[in-house]
Each structure stands twice: as C-alpha cells, then as structure tokens.
C-alpha cells in the first residue's frame, strides 16, 4: 500500500473519531446544563474546553453559547466538528479508489448534511439533532467500513487511526476530570457532583455499561477503573490501546518488514494498562498518570509516521 494512502486513511479515521468525540461531549454538556446551576455548568464547560484542547485565544474571544457554535461550525477553527468532517472527507477523497464506494458516499453525505449551517441565534434548538447526526453518521460510516471494505492493510490503518485518537481523547477527558473533581475517590458521589460523574461516563458512552458492571452507585475510583482499565469496553483506554497494538502487529505482518518500534511502544503501554492497579494510579495522581499515557500514545503516533509514512529512503532501498 502506498505510504500516502496509508497516511490518508489513518488521518481520515482520526478526524472522524475527533468529530464524533467533540459532538458527544457537547451534546452531553448541553443536556446536563438543563439540570444544573450556572456555576457548575461553567465549571464543567471549562473542563470540557481543556479536554478538547481549545486554544486560549478562541476561548477568550467568545462566550459560552457562541463558543459552542464555533466549536461546531467554524471553518476557521481546524478542530471544529465541521472542519474535522471536512478534513476526513478530503483525506478519503484523496484515496477514494482504496475504499468502497459505500464508504465514500456515506462520508460525503455526512459532509453535505453538515454544510447547512443554521444561524447562530437559533441553532441551539437544533443542536441535539445536529450532534446526534454526527455521532450516528460516524457510527454508520464505521459499520459500512467494517462490512464493505476488505479487512486488509488499509482497514487496519483505519482502526489504528481511530484508536490512537480515542486513547488520546479519552485519557485527556478523564485526566482533566480527576484533576478537579475527585476529592474522595472511594466514596459514592452525591448531589450536584453526581451529575458530573454521569456526564463523564456519558461522554464515553459508558453510563449504561458502567451500571451493568458496578450498579448506579458512582464512585470515582470505579469510574476511573472502568474507563481506564476495563478490557472489554470499546471506549476504555485499555481497550483502545489493545486495539492499537493489535492493528500494528497485523500491519507489521502484512508489510513483512522487520520493524518493531511502533509495536514495541504500543506493547509497553498495553502492558502497563493490563497490569496496573487503579488504587496505585489514583494514589500517584490520576492526572499525572494519564498525561503519561498520552505522552506514550504520542510516541506511538510518531513511530508510525516515521516507519510507514515518511521514512528515509537509503536504509529501505531495495536490492
């Protein structure tokens, strides 16, 4: 597979995952606001902005409602939902012949759907359906990808992109949450705080799954354990890292190259998550731990770039 094609598939997948993640965070936020005092809404909104890495210049220039609009529709802001979908589509457009027509048509449809930019004053009334459309569109694309594309190298690069992005995004989200809120991690949360933890779980589509595992009693420690170390839940950090590792191993086999760097880095992170105890993580500081997870995830990303997309020519010169 051409390096450029693999690069485009990888980034297409990352952008789409990013759009979906942002849409879900904002959707959850707007829903929770209805039940909350202005004070706690502001607190959560600030954490959300931090988790999404919204640049300070942007935050300073617009207030809450407008900022939500900017984060959704602005083409100037490269990480807005629309910008991410446009970037994903552009990437896929560059490599159309590598994917199934159904995939292209679905992503193109999602893009065209998002172009109808509702006015800033009234969009909030439609916001829920817009965010839903993004999440459903992304899920549909994922389903179409899985059922119409050959599960070969290209498909694995798509998996890789999705889970690298997810690892980073979920780790950032949990990190900011714990840095501000987990005062007594092993006790059930009550009152206004309860909604905050429900919100965190919902941001990872994890509320129902959590309840099935631990019941509706929310303890920060268990929430952390679930979102960070659960091996079966697809939005947990551990699950994401295991998927990254698996994709990298399969790509390694398919390309028949004796390269180990990305697999080794992903494997190290995977091992750390597989054998960690949540109590130790919390005791050492969840935020610090999660920042380290993100740093290692960044290393994996860099290694992928250097090995598969943008390698130096001389050492790989064929005989």
């Amino acid at each position: 597979m051409l390096s450029r094609v693999a690069d485009s598939l990888y980034w297409m997948s990352r952008y789409l995952e990013r759009a979906e993640h942002t849409a879900r965070l904002m959707d959850v936020d707007l829903q929770l606001r209805l039940d909350q005092s202005a004070e706690s809404s502001t607190g959560r909104w600030l954490r959300l902005i931090e988790a999404l890495h919204v640049p300070a210049t942007l935050v300073g220039s617009v207030d809450g409602g407008n900022l939500a609009h900017t984060l959704t529709f602005s083409r100037v802001n490269p990480s807005s939902i629309v910008s991410c979908i446009a970037a994903a589509r552009e990437d896929l457009r560059h490599v159309r012949e590598q994917c199934s027509s159904e995939m292209w048509e679905q992503l193109n449809r999602l893009y065209l759907q998002m172009l109808s930019n509702p006015p800033e004053s009234t969009w909030i009334l439609e916001s829920h359906s817009i965010f839903r459309a993004v999440q459903e569109g992304a899920h549909l694309f994922q389903g179409i990808t899985d059922s119409t594309m050959t599960h070969g190298e290209g498909w694995h690069f798509i998996q890789l992109g999705r889970f690298v992005e997810r690892t980073d995004a979920v780790a950032a989200l949990i990190g900011t949450h714990f840095a501000r809120l987990a005062h007594s991690p092993d006790q059930a949360v009550e009152g206004t705080e309860y909604l905050e933890w429900v919100g965190l779980l919902k941001c990872c589509t994890a509320f129902e799954a959590y309840c099935k595992t631990y019941s509706a009693e929310l303890r920060p420690l268990r929430v952390a354990e679930f979102l960070l170390l659960n091996s079966d839940f697809p939005h947990s950090v551990r699950f994401s890292v295991e998927s990254v590792h698996a994709a990298l191993r399969l790509i390694g086999e398919l390309t028949e190259r004796k390269v180990t760097q990305p697999v080794r880095l992903a494997g190290r992170l995977r091992a750390a998550l597989s054998f960690s105890q949540i109590e130790e993580i919390i005791a050492g500081g969840a935020y610090v731990y999660l920042e380290d997870v993100r740093r290692q995830c960044g290393q994996v990303h860099t290694a992928i770039q250097q090995i598969y997309f943008d390698y130096a020519i001389e050492p790989t010169m064929v005989a």
């Binding site: 051409l2 693999a6 560059h94 048509e105 449809r109 390309t255 997309f309 390698y311």
Partner: protein, 502 residues
C-alpha cells in the same frame, strides 16, 4: 404535403427546435428516424413526471458518488456535477463501422508520424509537412529526438472529437493525443441509463462498453519498457496530478476499475534511473505509468522546474528504457490545431490511403492570404488557440461581441502561429430532456481509442451536449453536459416489433 412544423410536434416535443443542423432524432419535424422510433414512442407515452424523477435521482447519485469536476478560474467553489442528460444518443451499427475504420486509420497514421518526426523526419524532408510548423509547436519536445519508445507506440490512449455535419456525415473536429479525459462519464452515464430505460435498452440491442477499463489495462501492460524485470505482469500505475485536478474523479475511478495504484508525483522517486513507489512495505519498482499529468509537469529536472506534480529524474529513467510512459512525451505536436490541417496529407503519406473521415476546413494564420481572409470574416468563423483545450481561448464569431473580435484580431496579429480559424459548424442536434420537455441541443461525439499495435474501440463514446439553448460549446468547463451513446447491433437498428410508418 405542406404542414407547418408546430402542428406535427406533439408533447413532450412542443418546444423542439429545428434549424439547418442535422437532427439526430427526426428526419423531418415530427417524423423520427427509424432507429429513434422506439425511443420516440417511449417518450410520448411516459409521463414527464417519471422522467423528471429519474433525472433528480441521477443528479443526486452523481453528487453523492462525487462524480464532479473542478472548474478553474471561478471563485465559488470548485466542485460541480457534470450534468448528465437522460436521453440516449443512438448511432446505427453501419454508421459506427465507418467511424471505427476512420479512427483506426487516423491513429495508425498519427503514430507513424510521431515516430518519423522524432527520428528521421522523412515527412519533413519530403516537404509534406512544413518543418517550421513542427519545430514551432509548443508541444514539440526536442528531448524526444532519437529516443525509442516501446513498440514505437507514442499514442496509446486517444480521444478524437467528431461532429456530424448538416449532410449527415461525421467529420473529425480535433484529436486529443495527450491526456484525453471524460471516459469515466461515458461509463457513469451508461450505468444511469440502464437503470432508467432497462427494457428499451435491451430491446434496442446496444453494444456494451463496460470492458473499457480492462481493455485499457491490457493496452498498458502490452507496452513494458525495454528493461522490464517484472517476472509476471509489469507493475502499472496511474499518475495523477492530484485531487485538485479537474478530472480527479476519473483518475480514481479508472485506477479502481483497473485495480492498479493511483499515485501522485510525491509517491514516486527515481534512483539509479529506476522508478520506485513509496509503500508501507518499502520501495517497489514501477514499470508502466499511465500518466494523466501533462508533459510540462512530468519532471522538474527536464521540463518546468517549478512543477511539484512530477517526479525528478523521471525523464532519465524513461530515456534509459526503465519505464514506459503512456502516452509518450511529445505527442501534443500531432494534435496541435494547426497540424490538424495536415492530417489528411499525413494519412496519405504513410498509409497511401484516402482519409475515411473528412476534416474541417482550417485556416492557418501564418499564411498571409488565409490570415487576411480570416481577419475580414471574424464574425462568421471560429478562432481557436492551437495549444489550448477544454474550450478555453476560443472565439465563436457569430456569438461574439465586437470587443472580443478586436481582442482576437490583436492576438492573431501578434502571434499568428498560435491561432487557427475554422468555419462555424452547425453541430448536429440531439433530443435532450430539459425541464420536463424534450428539446434539441447541439452535440459532438468523443470516441476513445486504445492502441497497442492493434486498435480497440469501445462502441460509442462520450456525447457532449451544449446545454444552453443555441450554444455550440460542449466543453464541461463551459457549461456543457453529456449523454449516453448507444451503438446498435445491426439486426436491430430498427425496432422489430413495429415497422417504420411512412
């Protein structure tokens, strides 16, 4: 029998126009040609709403599939769908056979011509084609002198534009020997029409065209470079300028249909005069490049140094016989619009045959007397820039303003070699479905010819339509559209169920 035309026209043909141009559908107002009768009857019976729905469905499916092209020089965005007209243009088998013979003759002669001018130049020494015309052509490549290309084939993919003149005969309007495009629209149109008129399509007995991509791949694979080391088939790729090119959709489509890699310049590199592509599994050797990048942009070391679309060192690899480029470099000299005037002589010179398909009278403007004539008759002639394509740089006399004519007069006087003039042709008209009615619009025909020693022509081609009423310009970039072209198997040129009524 003298009845005024309008009473002969029935819905949905009430606004169907006739003029001196040949009408593809009607012999005379209200009387369809034999091979159009079944379609005529279907259109008379079908509720217009049905067709309108099909048209909307077709447009939407083009948009969703992203079958779009890019318009240069406009600000508003770049992607537009290429309008597709739902009514087929039908060509009887016997007419097609003549076209086939004519085009086969033409591509054979043009390949011999290219080989000759890049080697011995016999045709120049014999004074058939003026030397200065060749050497002053912008697309003549000195670098190709004395270079042998695989099997002496320069043009392996060609799209020749034909028009039907008022007498009903086809004539060649121009050849596209560099990077002809549009074939994906031909295939996409067919797909739509098969959905819209399934029964009609079957009853007509239309030649299939779906094997084009496979034929193209065989053509490319039949031209391995001299030093090809591939054990099985030569490694073939399609080189595209990238996603911003107007024909990008077509590049992806063809690569997918042929099952070959679609590469951009930055995917390729040359080492020791061998071309490699950069893959996730390391570097892989490339043997044949179906390139959709113009000569100028292919290799910054050899041609335009500011090109970032090409591959540095590609020309040296080509010269060394390590890679095939299809089409070869420098073929543009033979589709120069001034050279066009000499093609009949070229055919006679190499093949000792008369041209089967006639050419259009062409005035060469570096000839004094012809230039004077043209400058006096700018309002009736069409002036074209010799090196341009896509309908850019053109003056259509009868539809021009006096300022435009003055501008072209100045340009011609400054650079006479860069322009030619031709009479304004009455392109034939074909029935089109527009706004719930059937109206007539001017059309041309671009068949696609594949050549690797033997000729493969997929029956039909792209019929381009000037969608604006009265317009003669069919180029997609200038508001043209396209329609499917049905070439009929002989026994069914007439609808068997109902004999023609006369």
């Amino acid at each position: 029998m003298t009845v005024s035309a309008p009473t002969l026209l029935k819905a949905p043909f009430l606004h169907y126009e006739f003029d001196q141009a040949y009408d593809e559908m009607f012999e005379s107002p209200g009387v369809p040609r034999p091979h159009y009768q079944a379609l005529y009857r279907t259109l008379r019976e079908l509720p217009p709403e049905e067709l309108r729905k099909s048209q909307q469905a077709a447009d939407l499916s083009f948009l969703h599939q992203g079958i779009t092209f890019t318009v240069y020089g406009t600000k508003e965005g770049t992607e537009r769908i290429f309008p597709n007209d739902l009514l087929p243009r039908i060509i009887p088998g016997n007419e097609w056979r003549k076209i086939e013979q004519g085009l086969t003759q033409r591509i054979t002669a043009l390949n011999l011509f290219l080989k000759d001018i890049y080697h011995d130049g016999r045709i120049l020494s014999d004074g058939i084609v003026p030397r200065e015309l060749v050497y002053s052509c912008r697309h003549f490549r000195r670098e190709m002198r004395g270079l042998n290309v695989p099997r002496d084939i320069y043009v392996s993919v060609c799209g020749t534009d034909l028009v039907r003149l008022p007498d009903g005969g086809f004539a060649v309007l121009e050849d596209n020997l560099r990077v002809p495009s549009g074939v994906s629209y031909m295939l996409a149109n067919r797909k739509v029409l098969k959905r819209v008129f399934p029964t009609l399509f079957r009853d007509y007995g239309v030649f299939p065209i779906d094997h084009y991509a496979q034929a193209l791949l065989s053509t490319l694979r039949a031209l391995p470079p001299a030093n090809c080391t591939a054990r099985n088939e030569p490694c073939t790729v399609l080189l595209t300028p990238g996603v911003f090119n107007s024909a990008y959709f077509e590049h992806t489509f063809l690569a997918q249909q042929m099952g070959i890699e679609l590469v951009e310049g930055r995917d390729l590199l040359v080492h020791d005069n061998i071309v490699f592509m950069r893959t996730t599994a390391g570097l892989r050797r490339v043997d044949v490049i179906y390139r959709r990048v113009d000569d100028d942009f292919l290799d910054p070391l050899c041609f335009r140094p500011d090109s970032s679309l090409g591959v540095p060192g590609l020309f040296n690899a080509y010269r060394a016989g390590n890679v095939t480029l299809a089409n070869a470099i420098g073929t543009g000299v033979a589709d120069d619009k001034a050279m066009y005037a000499y093609v009949p002589s070229i055919i006679r010179y190499y093949l000792d045959q008369d041209p089967i398909l006639p050419s259009v009278k062409t005035y060469l403007l570096n000839d004094r007397s012809e230039r004077d004539y043209v400058l006096e008759h700018l309002d009736t002639l069409v002036v074209k820039a010799v090196g341009e394509s896509g309908g850019y740089g053109m003056l259509i006399g009868p539809h021009s303003t006096s300022e435009q004519r003055e501008e072209f007069r100045q340009r011609i006087l400054a650079q006479p070699r860069d322009y030619i003039a031709q009479p304004t042709l009455a392109l034939s008209r074909a029935a089109c479905f527009l706004d719930g009615e059937v109206e007539s619009r001017h059309v041309d025909l671009r068949p696609y010819i594949l050549y690797s020693g033997s000729v493969t022509l997929v029956p039909g081609g792209l019929t381009r339509v000037a969608l604006q009423r009265g317009s003669l310009v069919v180029n997609s970039s200038q508001g043209g559209g396209s329609k499917d072209t049905w070439v009929l198997r002989d026994e069914k040129t007439q609808d068997p169920r109902t004999p023609a009524e006369f």
